[in-house]
Symmetry: C3
Subunit: 421 residues, 3 copies
Amino acid sequence: MPTLAETLYAEIRKVRVIDVHSHVRQTEPSASSLRDILSYHYFTELAFSSGLAKDHMAADLPDERMIPALVEAMARFDNTVQYGWLIDAARTLFDFPDRKLTADNWRALNDTAARKLGAEDWMDEVLRRANIEKVFLTNSFFEDLDGFDRQRLVPCLRIDDLVFHLDQVADKLSDRGGATVTDTGSLKQALAAVLEYFVAHDARSAAISLPPGFTCRAVSDADAGPLLRATLKGKDLASDERGALSAYVLYLLADLCRERRLPMQLMIGVIRGAYRHGVHQGTDIVSNRDSLSQYADLFNRFHDVTFTVSTLSTTLAHELLAYTWIFRNVVASGHWWYANVPGIIETDLRARIEALPRTKILGYYSDAYYVELALPKFDMYRWCLARVLAAQVQMKRLTEADALAVARCLLRDNAKSIFNV
Amino acid sequence: MPTLAETLYAEIRKVRVIDVHSHVRQTEPSASSLRDILSYHYFTELAFSSGLAKDHMAADLPDERMIPALVEAMARFDNTVQYGWLIDAARTLFDFPDRKLTADNWRALNDTAARKLGAEDWMDEVLRRANIEKVFLTNSFFEDLDGFDRQRLVPCLRIDDLVFHLDQVADKLSDRGGATVTDTGSLKQALAAVLEYFVAHDARSAAISLPPGFTCRAVSDADAGPLLRATLKGKDLASDERGALSAYVLYLLADLCRERRLPMQLMIGVIRGAYRHGVHQGTDIVSNRDSLSQYADLFNRFHDVTFTVSTLSTTLAHELLAYTWIFRNVVASGHWWYANVPGIIETDLRARIEALPRTKILGYYSDAYYVELALPKFDMYRWCLARVLAAQVQMKRLTEADALAVARCLLRDNAKSIFNV
Amino acid sequence: MPTLAETLYAEIRKVRVIDVHSHVRQTEPSASSLRDILSYHYFTELAFSSGLAKDHMAADLPDERMIPALVEAMARFDNTVQYGWLIDAARTLFDFPDRKLTADNWRALNDTAARKLGAEDWMDEVLRRANIEKVFLTNSFFEDLDGFDRQRLVPCLRIDDLVFHLDQVADKLSDRGGATVTDTGSLKQALAAVLEYFVAHDARSAAISLPPGFTCRAVSDADAGPLLRATLKGKDLASDERGALSAYVLYLLADLCRERRLPMQLMIGVIRGAYRHGVHQGTDIVSNRDSLSQYADLFNRFHDVTFTVSTLSTTLAHELLAYTWIFRNVVASGHWWYANVPGIIETDLRARIEALPRTKILGYYSDAYYVELALPKFDMYRWCLARVLAAQVQMKRLTEADALAVARCLLRDNAKSIFNV
């Protein structure tokens, strides 16, 4: 007899999901090979961290050498959910019959994957099996947003470069804006042009990842102007000046999002490049030092902009619960990266479901680079959700019908209403 | 067959509770109407946060418009424990037959509530149904403590104003003390008079809510004197000076509590007024930035004063466990406000029961404004306690008898011995 | 019928454990009496904290007075796991038939304990019943490491004094090094001599406990020299200077560990002496203020030294998960002191097993002073592990065979490979 969690899972599985944050590229939404999938940093960083030398997974190694080396190393973490994602994807998408990837079975998987990944309409097939309706992208401001189904792959503007590396992208921004960015006036024009382009191309949010220590604050044009001109001339700004300029640009963008009714996705708390020896995309770390009080001014000032907030550190989880509880424009969003672990998810999710309006929780997003990996990640989350809801039903706090109403909000309905899709 | 948690709950339900912290007013311990109950900030802030406009719940709207608007909005958070409190109170106290409050059934509830709330001895009836023996109040220092049953509604001195807003309450303090407060000497006399009045009127503790960043430290009369005179003259103190004066007053009060053998209730970690747009009582937030190391000097210096400590942030929960573990005069108390969520309670409670003497844990307090809401809050806690204890029995760490001994300490016996009631 | 957790526990019980951190002394690995065991600070600090006066457990009281007083006080925390350790040890080692220690049964226990503790080969018998193969010691740098079975009691170098109190131990260090320590050159020689002696005597790690606020950073010989000379002359260093000198010595030792291929055990986050009134060894507390970012430079710079890291505060648990996840030379180690509580262990352990290679987790160490207490502590952990693994099997993430493979890594295999024993 199925457990209650299994029964709820089966119902939850029927909800057609909106994936509100990913790094899927519109031009290449699918992996091209098993190797592509295995090169996901969640696999390479654990292989490296548990002992595989980097040159055994180097880009210039042939598959025949790189894949078996990685497969052997992965056995050291076959206890993890990350490993489970690979097996789940392989079984669901590539007819893989086993529970472990080995020296003996990787070749067959490789062949099947190659064949399927090359098929026409493969992405549609993946999304159908994953029961995902839409996948949000994360597009650089200078990207071309024509030539793909924007109802299915939904454009979102990534603003990290604009906020933190304006000096490096000023030329591209000038191109997009149609005029050289030289001062606060031309900066505003260029940013407005970016937003206009994105909104005209069905973009549904702006997204940014924010480092620990970043503090939101209002900076006047008068104060920002000299900093802007200095950085555009290639001068190094002091740490405090860089912070002020970043806050200034973030507020300009928040103001444009307000005008355009675009929600902002905030991903709070990554230290970039903390590990000098790490693999590609495996050098960033979480910090326990942040507080959402650093964002209170942003939330207060732009009280008609919706902020969907993800926090990386468990030390921020309770603040996010409380801010979502009282701030009208704050939504708790997903379980991300180092917090994307069932034990952490279920703890946070239980508190969210017990204390927050079900309309203010975005359950999950894949953060994936390929749709093939969105599938097992969402399935892991569905099980977390089923277990948490089953416990609520068993403690007679919710009926099964209540529980499924929550699930529909978290996986689909809230995304539709918040992002207007 | 009942589960073990259900069996334990039934026994726990029989323990007559002491509610050691509330905002119940001796003159008006009960709500006067359904609307009064619905206006509890836990309901209005979630209604607002999930989309209800403030003017739809404005004080000057007639019930006929305000209540249905709020009821409609509340459906968006019918998944929460807060919503559950309302339903539990309605069912237990007002014969409400349903599980959801709707446009169709609120009027009948409204009528029944009006009738019952107006009945003589209604408070006694509520406390009987809630199985609560005593409710601790939180009285301002200038309140009149005559004219009510102080064995049932136990006076406690709230000292926030004295510690943090002395300039605003100096006149009232002078009145109470019988002499104008002008310097440290007259301040001490006035505070002593306050304590004398409260102790003579059966007060059983002093309570204070402390903001993040507050640091306990000894400040001499010589250092405090000039600050005191300045603030009494209406001069603005610098942030550091305000902190010093607050610490000075807190220590004066701690010394008086020592003399009077009065435990102090510390509620640590609220940022007041963090959300500019929030509803009444819905603008404060939790901070993850505090540490109990800020209180080590207080605990060390007043080692014969009992401090019952509540922390708002989950980032303080482990420190509170450890301080209660070794500090003789620290008691872990309740689960408060943003931490008053079953998922958070059960995590903390399990660790407390596993690592702390059962005599050093105050299980719960209602923090309620009306006794009608103390009822469902305590019942929510009883279920948390029953589930945590059931798990301990199932893992064979405790027998059922052990478990119930713990429950009696947490709900009743410790409150009686610590507060001498 | 046994539960799955019970079935797994029975299998886990068969794994012969390596205890990688203890304070067991090679000359006196066993307690000499029941009183010795009862004097463990976990018991005395809780007795004191819950009300027993210090003079009722003073060292100069006869057993007839001290033990009954302590036994009576301990009843107040018979709900705790700490109390459970005593009962488990008494039952497993001393034929104690009861579940509570009382005025009526302590004398019989006392007699049996005296008899057994005095028996020849008693330590072997304890380790056999505990199923512990090896116990790591924590030796001061000046200790004599001859005259005991170093395959069973494995020497480890404790470096706290060298790093934090060099001025107090300079004479002993000069003795060990064979030349007076006067400057950075002679310091390096002396430290190298210490490492040489320890490695020659089968030492398998260096261990250090680090206070909150300590920050790892490279300090040059030129900068350290004057500080070293000043401290050796008995001059007080400023706080910042002390930190620099400590970091300098730590890095010298890390470099020697690199040369000698010795892993370093870091125990992060104790405030020493925070409670002025506490009992012996009951005055230290946890801080929630630390971040592993303070150790990032150490981990990066000594990327071929393995650091097995224990964090005391739950606010560091998630950082430790993430650092172990990507840093090749970081291993998550055990559950220590104030975090050695089942509710805290199981939360962390679940996340570790879900997200980390099973080869990068050291499950547990006893931190005990006598082998008699290593027994119940490990048994408590085995139950935590069994429950966490049972839940993973029940959610179909792991098979029973997978689960037991994890258990073997955590209790034995990883210790063997990481410490080369």
